[in-house]
Symmetry: C2
Subunit: 338 residues, 2 copies
Amino acid sequence: MNAVNLKQLALELNLSVSTVSRALRDSWEISTPTKQRVFDLAKKMNFQPNPYASSLRKHRSRTIAVVLPEVANNFFALAIKGIETVAREKGYHVLIYLTNEEAAEEMAIASSLQSGRVDGVILSLCGSTKETRHLLELQQRNIPLVFFDRVCEELTAPKVMTNDYESGFIATEHLIKAGCRRVAHLTISMSLSISHRRQEGYVDALRRWELPCDPSLVVHCPREEEESYRMIRELFSSSFRPDGVFASVEKLAVQVYHVCRELGLRIPEDVKVISFSNLVTASLLEPSLTTIAQPAYDMGKEAATMLFRRLEKKYIVVPDDQVMLPARLEVRNSTRAV
Amino acid sequence: MNAVNLKQLALELNLSVSTVSRALRDSWEISTPTKQRVFDLAKKMNFQPNPYASSLRKHRSRTIAVVLPEVANNFFALAIKGIETVAREKGYHVLIYLTNEEAAEEMAIASSLQSGRVDGVILSLCGSTKETRHLLELQQRNIPLVFFDRVCEELTAPKVMTNDYESGFIATEHLIKAGCRRVAHLTISMSLSISHRRQEGYVDALRRWELPCDPSLVVHCPREEEESYRMIRELFSSSFRPDGVFASVEKLAVQVYHVCRELGLRIPEDVKVISFSNLVTASLLEPSLTTIAQPAYDMGKEAATMLFRRLEKKYIVVPDDQVMLPARLEVRNSTRAV
DNA sequence: ATTATTTACGAAAACGTTGTAGTAACCCAG
DNA sequence: CTGGGTTACTACAACGTTTTCGTAAATAAT
């Protein structure tokens, strides 16, 4: 692979390997003219230090892992961008792992990260994760772990979140104010704390407006597209169907649109829809979709920043500081009062 | 970090480091009972071999790099998923780098990858890349490079592409058949070969239907959103505006929709729109968007497969085999004949 | 003039793994 | 019972860096 190394430079320059190494790192122990000679030759020979030798020696890989449930989703895609931006600024490399919402894959990935391959991990839980031993083990190996959006409440770790409770409340209240009386909540796995928070916000908004909480209106959609579609279709086929829907996940809102088309339900006349979403096309949908948009890019940047703060232990860091970035309500036609 | 290593296992078992190493790799040189003892202790102590020591020794990192212009875009996001899937199957790790469409960043990344950090690279050129020295240097370091969608025609390397020429032709012809006589082509940087191919298809379709090629109808949109928006707006503000638009890039189609709203132009009555796009919401837009959809996930898988074929040189591989996966025309209302 | 300090470098040992070369111990043939 | 072959291990060097320790030579202090 990379043929040129310190030994060759040293040989060429009649210097020792240590001197060359030090010169390249601009050590004060090396005289200016020598440094210059080393720099020049290194540049000429296009010397690139072997990162693995360096990592082995220094016990630092300058690499972090980002573990996500999926990426074909604007939220996570933007988050990656935020993370990558900060990482490259800091001279770090980013390994990406997708769990595909499978707890087993998340565990396998976490386990493999115990090898010391990475200095730190940014993770967003997958919906099917039930236990957190694999994450605890990471922490026990002294690999800093930062949670991101889908945080793990049981573990002590830095977390970057959105104000899920408030957002759930606001979304539901928005539907109610627009005239809805039977508001459904579509969500994914209830083992995720963000789902809980949003659900709590939903429930409290109903209470606040003295509307009944019908458990049949809270639908936990599975990962499988078809199954999920079927459940939503069923929800809307009932004679006593909801007149408003709060979708916790973008994908579910899209399915709601499709179901409504299939069933001939008009949005917002028959059903109003609001969704957590970062769709760039929200405003171009028919009808345009009212969204709760999370600051995905900033959340990514923030998570990365928190991780690097821990990695470059410049000062004592609180082990579980949490950052909460507010989501924005973007009102559009899918919740227009009619 | 990771405290447990071969030496400790060896010490505990009264064996040499080499024996433990070989036992773990299930070598025939080690007796079955010894292997069992080693396995058991390794499991008990949760031993994870240090990947950097291994990489250093073996000159293989089992890591690849994916270099993309952006990720907040369904096409690239799906591609990553395809790549990651294949990579994890093969036991490889995936480093991700975003160029943000900046040639300078692409060069810096390529340069840093010369260090031997990765065994191979999958890359999609960024729009502003003019020269390819940085990529050539990678190849000269014997780091296999596979191009993906935005390929580099000057370099000899495996490439995974879409049938851009045909797609450009089909898209344009589709507009013409729907009644358009002044078809515009919105594209990004013309230094990309895919832009050229699509443009060629566009031109040939116009010729085939004996329509004039008005150069003012081919608009090269810059990366900056506002600037790009301004140019599209200008195009449509002209008194002799196009009655059909072929957008080479999803983002531009979205901007066309916005411009049309702003100018009060109706799609498809006043302007018909077709676009390269992998938007999941294409069918939900107002009006639903006719797209040329690339098989992004499969392209990612294919690119990764080609790369691994090269890395695991089981047999002689052609240095520049190219795979062309066809894009699909998905006809929707934005090109409805009226 | 002698000793202390600084400057500029080199030798060598790590880091944890893998591969090569070697070697005791045992088995079997002659 | 000697010699060739197998079995099951060990010793050691190597991968390319970084770092600790050491030391000649030059300079400064006494």
